[in-house]
Subunit: 350 residues, 2 copies
């Protein structure tokens, strides 16, 4: 049996989990978070030209599998992502993801990559990019409430992009806090494990909530939140899952990615459908105002959006070649004569 | 830098183009077409339990990129497929495809595979499975109109499943007919290149149309089609693309995959929205009648449906292990502690 060498056009660069970790260390995690934030900010600034298809979800009793496509007219990207809360008990990830970037002009894929790690990075980069614009001036202390898989990425992104100096950790499970504190040692942050959510918020100008509670929980109550802070609410990200008391929402100016999605999945599912919110891209383009005074509470109600994944895919496409962090996959059939697919198959068996 | 060995759960079997060709030759193309048809027929028989999401299309001036998901509640599958008619001029495939199968219970992918070749096989297997039920008894001669990439697969599937003995080839481009005739030599069919569409239909009980015309063409006119034949119309597969004169449709009993999709993409886009058609799965389950008399014209207006891809993905999943036609891709991050994604990334750089 012959082994015909596929043409260049048939080969798609593939970034494995191992390659993604190598890429992170090749670039450095903080420079990579800054680079991702640059790509995300650039795409937020051209928000209007994107094809914003709603995510396509397939629900079952135990979880959901989603496809999140988008396109800027030149490139097309999509992410496959599952959400299975019960997986953790079985030693599996709640969320795994991979993604693909393709050339709109030919329809040919140009990148296939793991996105479990990449999603963690882009989520943190998005949070920090938004906080850079909305947090009060001189903010250098963050309460990190919920010390799961996202917490260290959030902390480092806030350090790299916003000049964070101190992170105050709290989780209902002390082992999670121990893990986060251990991971953050020696990375240039003052890391303070706290005994209560209230303690973690002492003196913090940025409050990040990222817990795994599956229901409408009240991680933050109204009296815990003082004026002038920026709240980065990450954990309310699906229908029936929220973290903030409604009274906090009523005291805040609320910024969102894509209102149609956030009203279903975010903290604002607790509010009326016509409650005013600002699309964050409009702050970047000058169409809307961000923070306007020191006493204002700004709230980024983040649920994650396909354009952030698209930016991350672009970033990876542009950086893997220098680092050599990929292999070529023989994914696309590419017969010499496009009409002679059968002949190609037949000759492979000769 | 360490190279941690990923756990089994992080690895996803990947079937490249080369592996798919090896699988075809390992099993044999006719046994594989028969096997695929069995899987497709089995899934048509349980049609009602599938999650039938419409395909998600991203259109541009030059083509379309589509995601076609479906699920039977145990497995979830989707196909990525592009359609770029102008690609051929650039030496690229008009259509390329790949697909994924995942476990609904965990959301973890279990198979990633090329689907350009696999789609050609499943399309032919579907046509032949339907013809086995609808073509007149003793049908052994087919007119194959349009001799492009699908024509040889169609011919062999009709041989393997329906006992076809003679295929009469015609294409507006004689070089396409030459190519198909050459590829089909020595495979057990009597192959007859023809000088006109009319010639190719002489004595044929099965008429397959699969041309690349982009507009509403009339490959078959009404007076060309005699009574009692089975028409297998493959080429009308997107809005504004049809092959049959409307008068033929009015003389035929029409069978379709999924009416909601076929009324937009198939030959029946030329008919009123309420023109009666039969969902083919109902013929298999006894809910509807197939061919009822010798003079009837049966028409399978095929546009391709996600369930056929799902069946093909199941078939590949079940057969690659014997053949060893795959590699394992490190696609999913799988830290020992699901909450310690950061630690996994960090340790990879140690």
């Amino acid at each position: 049996m012959t082994n015909p060498i596929p043409s260049d056009k048939a080969l798609v660069p593939f970034v494995s989990v191992d390659h993604m970790m190598k890429l992170v260390h090749h670039i450095g995690i903080e420079p990579m978070l800054i680079g991702l934030a640059d790509y995300i900010e650039a795409d937020f600034k051209r928000w209007e030209l994107f094809d914003k298809t709603p995510r396509v979800a397939s629900h079952s009793d135990v979880g959901v599998i989603e496809l999140m496509p988008t396109s800027d007219g030149e490139a097309y990207g999509f992410k496959y992502v599952n959400g299975h809360p019960k997986n953790t008990k079985e030693g599996l990830q709640t969320v795994t993801a991979f993604g693909l970037l393709a050339d709109v002009d030919t329809g040919y894929p140009v990148l296939l990559t793991e996105m479990t790690i990449l999603t963690a990075l882009r989520t943190a980069a998005t949070s920090a990019m938004v906080a850079k614009h909305l947090a009060p001036k001189g903010a250098d202390t963050m309460a990190m409430i919920g010390n799961g898989a996202q917490s260290e990425f959030q902390s480092l992104a806030m350090k790299a992009l916003c000049g964070l100096k101190t992170v105050q950790l709290w989780d209902s499970d002390p082992k999670a806090t121990e893990k986060a504190a251990r991971n953050l040692q020696g990375l240039g942050l003052n890391v303070v494990p706290c005994a209560s959510a209230e303690d973690s918020m002492e003196g913090a100008q940025i409050i990040t909530t990222c817990t795994a509670d599956k229901q409408c929980a009240t991680i933050l109550t109204d009296n815990m939140v003082g004026e002038g802070v920026h709240i980065n609410a990450i954990g309310g990200d699906c229908p029936g899952k929220t973290e903030l008391a409604p009274a906090i929402l009523h005291r805040s100016d609320i910024f969102v990615e894509y209102p149609e999605q956030t009203r279903i999945e975010g903290e604002i599912q607790q509010l009326d459908d016509d409650h005013p919110v600002t699309e964050f891209w409009q702050v970047l383009t000058g169409k809307a105002k961000g923070r306007t005074d020191d006493r204002q509470i700004t709230l980024f109600d983040s649920v994650g959006f396909a354009i952030e994944d698209f930016s991350a895919l672009r970033y990876v496409r542009d950086h893997i070649h220098d680092a050599g962090c990929f292999i070529e996959l023989d994914l696309l059939a590419d017969p010499d004569d496009p009409r002679d697919l059968f002949g190609m198959v037949q000759r492979a068996g000769a």
